[in-house]
Structure formats: structure tokens, C-alpha cells
């Protein structure tokens, strides 16, 4: 079947690509507000740097590794679309949209996948090491996983990945390839880096909850592109995914807040934000294959499960600082497996889950896909993490961590809210030497008079810096 370019589909996918890219700054604020004030900028930069490194990798050979002709179902041919130049032809289409629109859309996915991991290693990661990690992890973990899950036979190249085509597990927009993948990687890195100084000894309060709420809102907004854009067209599938992306997070937020109300006595704003994200994660793989009511059910399950899952890290003693495991791994697994239960044969995907009389067939396929990516991501990330730790060191020094990683790694601070000027230009220390000519004439005269009258202990010695 030869398809023609459809301008409506193309417009929607291009807009969706921009929406998905906005999720990365959204995530940066979501994470940035949750850490202490002294590490806010570093947390935000860990997401932003992914837009740099992965943005370039994607053009060079990342797209080709994910969507080039498959080598044994494991990895795309990295040379086929290297540089993306070959896709400029008017005939280069994926379905009804230009191949470049598809490449743009998937680029934003690759970027946020690695950015998600940063939440598990907040406040203690060497920025250079993290930058190297984003490159190695994308090449060795994300591009292969995206190939397995997203590359369908005949879509971008003749042969695609093994999970999509052999196992036929459903991952509509990346519950497996992105959220389970990033969650497992987050767990591995939290183990490699170890805990923050004072973890479980002193409370580490979120420094700016309003930023967290803003970030959660931006994530939800961008997620409509993430899920509805994954239809790769302006059609019924996109509309269903959009509605499901509204229903699941809404239900998950209510469920999470309900757990808090009963368990803790108060519904919290951090709980609301976390519930929204848990629901978004869980509905991601299922958005095209469940009914809106199914999405509500998945949202409720995700809200409750993740609200309890985030407590695990304290019991197990690993410092997954911002709950990448509790929200993305647990929510991603739940959503991916829930397709096996809730898949509605009336949906565009046309698959029946267990609750719709489909038996356990799809559930089994979902489990194989989910745990294959989980195991692969955890093992390889552990390897990359250890390698970086041994060669260049993955953590900053204890002193840098105590004083604040923003200052140590970026020579900046996140906030200067004081109207008093505490600093001066050029980095000249004015504690020992000043330009007296800056002083008004009368003040200068006064000081000279005092010093001549009583050469006291306030003599000026030349002090070496």
C-alpha cells in the first residue's frame, strides 16, 4: 500500500514533536523544585544537557540505530540514515507524514528518556560524568530499546525490532521503551552512586513546591503530544489517546490524594503532582488500546500503586532521590501489563485483554516485552555506571555536595532574592584590597586623617591572596 503525504497528519505530528520537547524543561522544573535550593540549577541542567547531547546524536546516527533496517531484530543499521540527509527527499514518508517529521517526533522521546533518569541521582552527580553518561546510555540502551519496541516492519525500513514484530507486545507511546527503561536505569545508577550525604539522617525538603506544580502542569500539557502524537496522524486513534491522557492522570491524581488523605490525613500538592505523573506514565503504553473507562481504571491503579511504591526506597535503603523507580518503573510496568487486562477490541489497536475475553495471550506478550527491557536496561546501565565511576568518577566530593552542587559544578546559584548587593565584578576580592578612589572625597580625607593621627593596629599589611 502506497500512502500519500497528508498535511493534517504532518501538522499534528510536528506540533506533537514540539509538545514532547517541552516535556524536558517541564521535567527539569518538576525535578528542580523537589531538590534542595543549593542543587536546583544542577538538577535542571541535567535535563537540559540531554537536549544537547541526544539532539546531536539523534541526527548523527541515533535515528538510524533506532529506525534503520534491522540487524537481527536487535539494532537498526546505524549507517542507513546517518546524518538524516537521505530523508530530505519528498518521497521519504513514514505512513502519511514525512520521515523527517517522524524523526523529529522520536528525537524528543530519546531526549526525555535519558533526562528522566537524572531524578534518581540528584544533588551528587559530577556534571561531566552525567554528560558522558547521556551519550553512552543513549547509544547502548535507548537506541536499541527504541528499535525493539517502536520499529515496525516496513514502517521506516524493511525490518524492525523483535519486541514490536516477533513478540507483538503493545507499547503505544513508550511505557516500555521509555518509562520502564529509564526506571530500571535510575535504579542501577542509584546503586552505583550510593546515597546522598545525610540521606535518611536529615530530612531533605523540596525547596520550591510551586516549581514542582508548574513542571507537572508542563509535563501533562506536553504529554498530549507524547501520546496523541504517537498515532502519527490526526485521526480517531489520536483523539482516543488524547482523551485517555486526560482520564488516566485525572483518576491517578484523585487516587493518590485519596491514599494520602486516608494514610496521612492530608492531601498534599506533591502528592497531586506525583499522581498526575504516575497516571501519565501508566497510560502511555495503553493510550491507543484501551477505552476511556479503561484509562480511568489504569489511572486509579497507578495512583494507588505508585503512592505506596515510593516508600520502598527508604525501606530498602537506596537513594532514588526523586522516585524514578517508584513512579516510572512501577507506573510503566503497571501500564504495560494492564494492556493485557484492559485492551478493548473496539479500540483502534483491536486487541482483547483478559477482561474482554482475550485470555492471557496479550498479557504474556506484554510481560515478555516489559521484563526484557527492564533486565537489559538495568544490566547495561549498571555496566556503564561502573565504567564511568572507575574511569572518571561519577560523584562530586563530599565538600562540594555539602556546599551545594550548583556552586561546585556550575559556579552559579539558583536564586538571588536579596535587594542588597553582596557581589562585585571581575571576581576581585574586596575583603583585603579596594580602590579608594571609589570613595567620596570627604570619606577619603577622613580616613587619611585618622590613619595619620593614630597609626594603630589597623595598619595595612600586604596580604598575599
Amino acid at each position: 500500500m502506497i500512502l500519500e503525504l497528508n498535511s493534517g497528519d504532518t501538522a499534528w505530528v510536528l506540533i506533537s514533536a514540539a509538545l514532547v520537547l517541552l516535556m524536558t524543561p517541564g521535567l527539569a522544573f518538576f525535578y528542580g523544585g523537589m531538590v534542595r535550593a543549593k542543587g536546583a540549577l544542577n538538577m535542571i541542567m541535567m535535563s537540559f544537557i540531554a537536549m544537547g547531547t541526544v539532539g546531536v546524536l539523534w541526527v548523527l546516527f541515533g535515528y538510524s540505530m533506532a529506525f534503520g533496517d534491522s540487524i537481527g531484530g536487535v539494532i537498526g543499521n546505524p549507517l542507513q540514515f546517518a546524518g538524516l540527509s537521505g530523508l530530505m527527499s519528498k518521497d521519504a514518508l513514514v505512513g502519511t507524514i514525512p520521515s523527517l517529521a517522524f524523526a523529529a517526533f522520536q528525537a524528543a522521546f530519546a531526549i526525555i528518556a535519558v533526562a528522566l533518569i537524572s531524578g534518581s541521582i540528584a544533588d551528587r552527580t559530577s556534571f561531566k560524568a552525567w554528560t558522558v553518561f547521556t551519550i553512552l546510555w543513549s547509544i547502548l540502551v535507548y537506541f536499541p530499546a527504541a528499535h525493539w519496541v517502536f520499529a515496525f516492519d516496513g514502517a521506516t525500513a524493511e525490518h524492525g525490532g523483535w519486541i514490536a514484530n516477533t513478540i507483538k507486545a503493545i507499547d503505544f507511546a513508550g511505557g516500555t521503551a521509555i518509562h520502564i527503561n529509564a526506571g530500571a536505569a535510575g535504579l542501577a545508577l542509584a546503586i552505583v552512586l550510593g546515597r546522598r550525604v545525610d540521606f535518611l539522617i536529615k530530612p531533605m525538603r523540596p525547596h520550591n513546591m510551586t516549581l514542582v506544580m508548574l513542571g507537572a502542569g508542563m509535563l501533562w500539557f506536553g504529554w498530549f503530544g507524547f501520546n496523541a502524537g504517537s498515532a502519527l496522524g490526526a485521526n480517531t486513534t489520536a483523539a482516543l489517546a488524547w482523551v485517555n491522557t486526560l482520564a488516566a492522570p485525572a483518576a491517578a491524581m484523585l487516587a493518590w490524594l485519596g491514599v494520602e488523605q486516608i494514610r496521612d490525613g492530608h492531601p498534599t500538592s506533591l502528592g497531586a503532582a506525583s499522581g498526575i505523573v504516575a497516571g501519565l506514565v501508566a497510560v502511555t503504553p495503553a493510550a491507543g488500546s484501551v477505552s476511556p473507562l479503561g484509562a480511568v481504571a489504569i489511572g486509579i491503579l497507578a495512583g494507588i500503586a505508585c503512592a505506596f511504591a515510593i516508600g520502598l526506597k527508604n525501606r530498602l535503603g537506596f537513594d532514588d532521590s526523586l522516585d524514578v523507580v517508584g513512579v516510572h518503573l512501577v507506573g510503566g510496568l503497571l501500564g504495560t501489563l494492564a494492556i493485557g487486562l484492559f485492551a478493548d477490541p473496539a479500540s483502534p489497536a483491536g486487541v482483547a485483554g483478559l477482561l474482554y475475553g482475550g485470555g492471557t495471550d496479550q498479557l504474556g506478550r506484554q510481560a515478555v516485552g516489559a521484563f526484557a527491557v527492564l533486565g537489559y536496561s538495568f544490566a547495561v546501565t549498571l555496566g556503564i555506571g561502573k565504567l564511568i565511576d572507575v574511569t572518571m568518577g561519577f560523584r562530586v566530593t563530599r565538600a562540594a555536595e555539602n556546599n551545594g552542587i550548583d556552586l561546585a559544578e556550575h559556579t552559579e546559584v539558583g536564586y538571588d532574592l536579596s535587594p542588597v548587593y553582596y557581589s562585585s565584578f571581575d571576581g576581585i576580592r574586596r575583603t583585603l584590597f579596594v580602590e579608594p578612589s571609589e570613595l567620596p572625597h570627604d570619606v577619603l580625607e577622613h580616613i587619611e586623617a585618622v590613619r595619620q593621627a593614630s597609626p594603630s593596629e589597623l595598619d595595612r599589611e600586604e596580604v598575599s591572596a
Binding site: 542588597v420 574586596r430 583585603l432 590613619r451 593596629e457
Partner: protein, 112 residues
Amino acid sequence: MKLVTAIIQPSMLDQVQTALVHLGVRGMTVSEVTGYARQQGHKEVYRGETMTVDFVLKVRLEILTPDADVEAIVGTMVKAARTGEVGDGKVWVTPIDSVVRVRTGETGDAAV
């Protein structure tokens, strides 16, 4: 030993620091405080609603010094902090019983 404390206009901190360093003062403690005396607060307006801010932002400077230098420091502070407007602040001197430098354990004038 004496403790010289000054409450000054935030905008004059830069000039006071420059003058004190030129005089030879080696250290100071600065904090942001709020308060009022003869200078009353100011008004702020949000969407047409007027609010009075009673407590005005000031900078408090504290310097520990041997007795001999008190006069020079106070004099310089007063000269450098003056704008002539109401709200320029105050400088006062307090006697100090003992001082210990935390790092070395030195006491008295050596610790100042």
C-alpha cells in the same frame, strides 16, 4: 574588646565596606534586617489595593575590634554611610567580655 554594630541603608553597604577595608578592617558580619525608627515604612500598591509596609529593609554590620580602633571604625562608618536623608541608621558600641577563635582556640585581642 568592643563590638561595633551599625544599622545602615542597604544601598550604602558597598561604600561602607570599601571605606572600612581601606581603613584596614579585616572582617565584618553582615545581615539583612528590617525595622523602623523616625523613618516610617512605605506604601505598596497591588491592583489598586494599598498596603503599608511598616518594617523597612536595613543592613546590620557587626565588627569585633580591639578598644584602640573603635573610634576610627565608628568615625569611618558614620562618614561613609551618610546620605543625609532620614533613615541613614545608627552606630553603637558594646563592651565584649571574651572572644574565642573557633579554629585555633586563640582568645582575646588575638582572636579578633
